[in-house]
């Protein structure tokens, strides 16, 4: 058995870990303080009164947060359905089928990443306005999906490329059609990777600000929009509480990504 406590080499590592924790948690401590501060102003370095009054306000039926939370979750859910629904066949095609114009398709997926989002959103907002999609949940979902789809296709392509071809070939040689092989063999095998990409798209949508701001505001409010308005209006308590709510699904995602996104899948992204 190794003796851990007596090994002096642990000291610098413990110090390093402590420093890392401080750097990461320093700014977050401020957020936590604001979330429970009822009165806090200059020149007091710490809040004068602590309490949960603002939490009650945020979660009261008349508070904006409940509506924004519901909007955010509905939008993120629909975004996942559209993005993954389109990305699964596209990712499979990119990974397995001999595609006409494969290079052009990959370029189409890459260029929007390099192009500033702003003009895209501005022009989409203009086009949506003509179709009455501005300020609607559907409009926001479409914008989020256009963004999420690109990531979803990348991850789906990587997930399908990482699969062993032998099982599919076995199914085909036993007489299963290409479509049936895809549905019954390939899809279940790729499920973990696809699930990870679904979670990723969900969180991207939950956290998305710019597109929602241009296409949805002020009619559709999501948590990031609420956060921004509260912060800009000096309602630091509301902003901090909203930020904390947004952290919860993200932390859940950390645990998921640890399990599903293995290095062998990651290494194939973008190939």
């Amino acid at each position: 058995m190794r003796s851990l406590a007596l090994d002096p080499r642990w000291i610098p590592r413990a110090l390093g870990l402590g420093l890392l924790a401080f750097v990461i948690f320093g700014p977050l401590t401020n957020l936590l303080l604001w979330a429970v501060a009822e009165r806090w102003y200059f020149p007091h370095a710490l809040p004068l009164k602590y309490g949960f009054t603002y939490w009650v306000n945020v979660f009261s039926p008349r508070g904006n947060a409940t509506g924004a939370l519901v909007n955010s979750v509905v939008i993120a859910g629909l975004t996942v359905v559209i993005s993954i629904g389109l990305a699964v066949p596209a990712g499979y095609a990119l990974a397995r089928l001999r595609l006409p114009l494969r290079g052009v398709i990959l370029l189409m997926l890459l260029v929007p990443q390099a192009f500033p989002n702003l003009p895209v959103y501005v022009n989409i907002a203009r086009i949506f306005y003509q179709f009455g999609l501005n300020g609607t949940v559907l409009g926001v979902v479409l914008v989020h999906a256009s963004h999420g789809l690109v990531y979803a296709v990348w991850i789906a392509t990587a997930a399908f490329s990482a699969l062993d071809k032998e099982l599919e070939e076995a199914a085909r040689s036993l007489g299963a059609s290409a479509l049936r092989t895809f549905v019954d063999v390939t899809l279940p095998l790729a499920a973990p990777g696809l699930l990870a990409s679904a979670v990723f798209v969900f969180l991207e949508s939950l956290d998305e600000f710019t597109g929602t701001y241009f296409v949805g505001a002020p009619d559709v409010s999501t948590l990031p929009l609420l956060l921004y308005t509260a912060g800009a209006g000096g309602n630091y308590q509301i902003a901090s509480i909203t930020a904390l709510i947004l952290l919860v699904p993200s932390i859940a995602f950390m645990l998921v990504i640890e399990r599903f996104l293995r290095a062998d899948v990651l290494s194939k992204v973008g190939r």
């Binding site: 851990l4 642990w10 590592r13 870990l17 924790a21 990461i24 320093g26 700014p27 977050l28 401590t29 401020n30 957020l31 604001w34 020149p43 007091h44 559209i82 389109l86 066949p89 596209a90 499979y92 095609a93 990119l94 089928l97 001999r98 006409p100 398709i105 189409m108 997926l109 990443q113 390099a114 192009f115 500033p116 989002n117 702003l118 003009p119 895209v120 501005v122 022009n123 999906a145 789809l149 296709v153 290409a178 479509l179 600000f209 948590l223 990031p224 956060l227 921004y228 901090s240 930020a243 947004l246 952290l247 993200s250 932390i251 995602f253 950390m254 645990l255 640890e258 290095a263 290494s267």
Partner: protein, 292 residues
């Protein structure tokens, strides 16, 4: 065996088609529209119809001092932020690559900034930087150090924003480099050890060169996003004080939504796209030479 159905015969067209149409409609078309707008004079406030003006928008924007300042600011912000992130991120990855107690916890801690909403991060740091009751100045004064104005001062606003970017995105470099380190073969390390290389020599001459392509991939991804940074700057300073944190993306936003000069805004954003493309190509070239 039965005859393949229509769907089966055209699988390789039907499978990717919906995704392609979606992206063409919602991303490629607006991009092309922006390109077209840059050659027109279109002012939302005047209500006048679109007018083709050739290269006049380019002439006006590209010679404006405010534009040149924004270009330099965008590059200053990006280069410093990404450089610090690359060095720090790689260093942390190398530390985390060894087995030690608390490694899982350290990795989880590290993921926290990465998964936080950028707007939330902006708010967090605005509270943190608050000159009077923010924790940053509190900690500085506790140690007897001079207090700062952070994002409220024209000279410190960009460094303060760089700190925010580094805080949020260093973990991304770490994660990618960790994946790269996990994929390295053991042989060169053993050979180096057999030859009696010190730990430092192994790091300098074996590990770093082998993981360099991965580092550069991470840098490309970061560079593209850093050049396009919008959320954090918009939420924290809106480009101020004055124009002190106005990057190209923020300037493009102001030209679109505050001055409603769509043609000129398009020129600004095309310029930004051009810089993103240029930087990505440059690093991709570096990467292919690092691989050989």
């Amino acid at each position: 065996m039965r005859e393949p159905s229509f769907v089966e015969r055209h699988l390789r067209v039907l499978f990717p088609l919906p995704a392609i149409l979606f992206i063409a409609l919602l991303m490629i078309f607006p991009i092309l529209y922006t390109l077209a707008l840059s050659f027109t004079s279109w002012n939302l406030t005047s209500g006048a119809p679109l007018r083709f003006v050739g290269l006049r928008n380019f002439e006006q924007v590209l010679t404006e001092p405010r534009f040149l300042d924004a270009v330099l600011r965008t590059f200053g912000f990006t280069i410093f932020a990404v450089l610090i992130e690359a060095v720090l991120g790689t260093a942390i990855a190398l530390i985390l690559n060894r087995a030690f107690i608390g490694k899982g916890l350290a990795k989880l801690l590290l993921l926290l900034p990465l998964v936080a909403t950028p707007v939330a991060v902006g708010i967090v740091f605005n509270l943190f930087y608050d000159p009077t009751i923010g924790l940053a100045n509190y900690v500085l004064s506790t140690f007897g150090l001079p207090q700062g104005l952070w994002v409220s001062d024209a000279t410190s606003v960009i460094p303060s924003l760089i700190i925010v970017d580094v805080w949020q995105w260093t973990p991304m470099i770490t994660l990618i480099v960790l994946a790269g380190l996990a994929g390295l073969s053991e042989e060169p390390f053993e050979a180096a050890r057999v030859d009696g290389a010190t730990q430092w020599q192994v790091l300098r001459h074996v590990t770093i060169p082998m993981v360099m392509p991965t580092i550069l991939t991470a840098v490309i991804l970061r560079l593209i996003d850093a050049l396009k940074t919008f959320d954090i700057i918009f939420a924290m300073t809106g480009g101020g004080p004055g124009y002190a944190s106005e990057t190209l993306n923020i300037m493009g936003f102001k030209y679109s939504f505050e001055y409603f000069r769509m043609g000129q805004a398009s020129v600004i954003l095309i310029a930004l796209f051009f810089f993103v493309l240029l930087c990505s190509l440059g690093i991709m070239k570096l990467r292919s030479s690092a691989e050989n």
